[in-house]
Amino acid sequence: MNTAQRVLAAGLSLALLPSATLADESTRVALVPGGPHPYFAAWEQAGADAAKDFGLGSADYRVPQKWELGLQNQMLESLVTQGYNAFLVFPGDPVGTVAIANELAETGAPVMALAGCLKDPSEAVFCMGTDTGNSAYLGTKELLKQLGDGAKIVHFTGFLVDPNTQLRIDAVAKAAAEGGAEVIQVIADIDAPEPAEEKINAYLAAHVDEVDGIVTTAWVPAVVASNALRKIGDKRIVMVGIDHDEVVIQAIKDGFVHGTMLQNPYGQGYIGSFVADRLRSGCTVKADAPFKSNALTDKFIDSGTVFAGANDVDNYVGSMQSITKVLFDEFESTYLDC
């Protein structure tokens, strides 16, 4: 997948080099996820590419060792000390990270919430990421397309301490209600593989016949559920997963999973680094920028989320590229005054 990214990067860079301008004092971007997680892996490449393409001082991927708010804060603080002057942060907690984000902003550095949003009000220039609620909503819609009326679906999702989880739960319920389906169970707190394995399998073992569809809105549950369905060998149950874990992709190819909601981490990292640099070189965010708004913020930019089914899953990288491309091409004109 890294190779794929490099291709994409090359393509983009060709198209965009002219528009890249060098800041007088070089921009040092830090891309900081909430903790170690495969989802963010694409950021490293994206940062490196952006740094190359737009001649940034650097755009480094810095990972806190654990999913700990405290540790992420400590890391951000040390990054300030290290002289980074632009921050792309996945908020460890939509509310809890606001304070540190504001402090970073006070140092004059542009701060963007990436992949997940900060809850308004905050000093973050904007939030670019997957609209978690929306993605769950669309995913459920895609699922219901496959199912008859009055379908029974289950929802596997992540940690309850993460407010996004609540958003997802609501979104799925909403979509189901509209589609005349019923969410017969939500299983949460399964971001760790062991409990996920245990609970999902236990549930399927007991209710395999009562369930028509599965929607998963977190990485690990998607992986585990795909495996579970493969294990049962039952293709009756329709499942829509999330993200691009190889297990999920493979399951889609083999027809155990209907499709997955792709997100666009690479695009987030690449575009984010670019914008950071533009902002430092004097650009400002348009007052009338057409931000979307979601449950958390009114300054939301959807980094795009597409449904990839069996047919388009093979070049899901391609589909992610195209989103990125579209978003990137008119980003400056749409959101920035330069």
Partner: protein, 322 residues
């Protein structure tokens, strides 16, 4: 040995387990469906391994906070060797096991020869091992797991008995044999029971401590490897949340944290109880926000019952002694 079976520490857990099974299955017959049993056994097999790797340390009156870290390290090295170097899985398994073994020996040696409490040592080694894990994987799972391993991790050899049950049962039997029939095992319990006396009788306490930690490391590694098979991925997060279970199960099973007394059967049942609880919460679709509460409550209840039985037994003894 001469005590009646209903006085033995594993009777309480057994009672709880049986009642739980009866009640649950009456309320929800699918609970005893072959597939569900298979799922249950899969969970129990791996968790039993985790609990045992802590139990053996509790036996010498210490704590091993690094079980999860060792397990995770073994798991990812297992996955890594197969994916990156294409080593055939049996060899990879053996190598990962020996990594766990070495990690355990390192823990043991440090505890034995520095005299620093195992708590502190394993606290430090916990983050060392976990760090190595992250350093190698950069949080990326290893996906390239041979189908043999996957099927061993999930399929049954005799419906509904999954393959993973075999190592678990083997470990249980061997541990029991070690702790209650072999001088080495007795020496382990002796050190836990009265270190000074053990030393006076020519038992080399440092050696025993090292052995115990080595076994602990080995079992943790085995658990990690089994999980790779079961999850079908070399997940770097394997082992992150073993700690609570690893203590809860032996203690529910009647182990004494100050050492010198553990029960293999009890621990196994302790694992079973936790597994059943987890399932029940799902089966009866308890409000996800309440799951933790129920879990905690049930742990309290379980140890409470055990305690009550103990106290009554002691009163009897006291009455007899005076």
């Amino acid at each position: 040995m001469n005590q009646k079976f209903w006085q033995s520490e594993w009777f309480g857990p057994l009672l709880i387990t049986v009642t739980a099974i009866v009640i649950v299955s009456s309320l929800n017959p699918s609970f005893l469906s072959p597939f569900n049993i298979q799922i249950l056994l899969l969970a129990i097999s791996v968790n039993a391994m985790i609990a045992f790797s802590q139990m053996i340390i509790i036996a010498i009156g210490q704590m091993n906070l690094s079980v999860g870290a060792i397990g995770g390290m073994a798991a990812i090295s297992f996955g890594g060797m197969m994916e990156v170097w294409g080593i055939p899985w049996p060899i990879a398994a053996v190598l990962s096991l020996s990594i766990g073994l070495l990690a355990g020996i390192a823990n043991g040696a440090l505890c034995a020869y520095t005299g620093i409490s195992a708590f502190v040592i394993t606290l430090a080694s916990l983050s060392i091992f976990k760090g190595i894990n992250l350093g190698i994987t950069e949080a990326q799972p290893f996906y390239d797991i041979p189908d043999t391993v996957k099927s061993l991790g999930n399929d049954t050899f005799l419906h509904p008995l999954p393959w993973l049950v075999l190592p678990a049962v083997a470990a249980a039997v061997l541990l029991w044999y070690l702790l209650f029939r072999l001088p080495l095992g007795r020496a382990i319990l002796a050190v836990g029971g009265n270190e000074h006396a053990a030393a006076l009788s020519g038992i080399s306490v440092p050696r025993i401590v090292i052995v115990a930690h080595a076994i602990s490391g080995l079992l943790a590694a085995l658990a990690g490897i089994m999980l790779v098979g079961r999850l079908q991925i070399g997940q770097p997060t394997i082992g992150d949340d073993w700690l609570i279970l690893s203590f809860a199960a032996p203690v529910i099973g009647g182990a004494i944290l100050t050492g010198g007394h553990v029960s293999v059967a009890g621990t196994f049942l302790g694992v079973a109880i936790v597994a059943i609880i987890t399932q029940v919460l799902v089966l009866f679709s308890i409000d996800p926000f309440l799951v933790q509460v129920v879990l905690g409550g049930l742990i309290l209840w379980a140890v409470g019952i055990n305690r009550y039985r103990e106290v009554r037994a002691h009163r009897k003894i006291a009455a007899g002694a005076i």
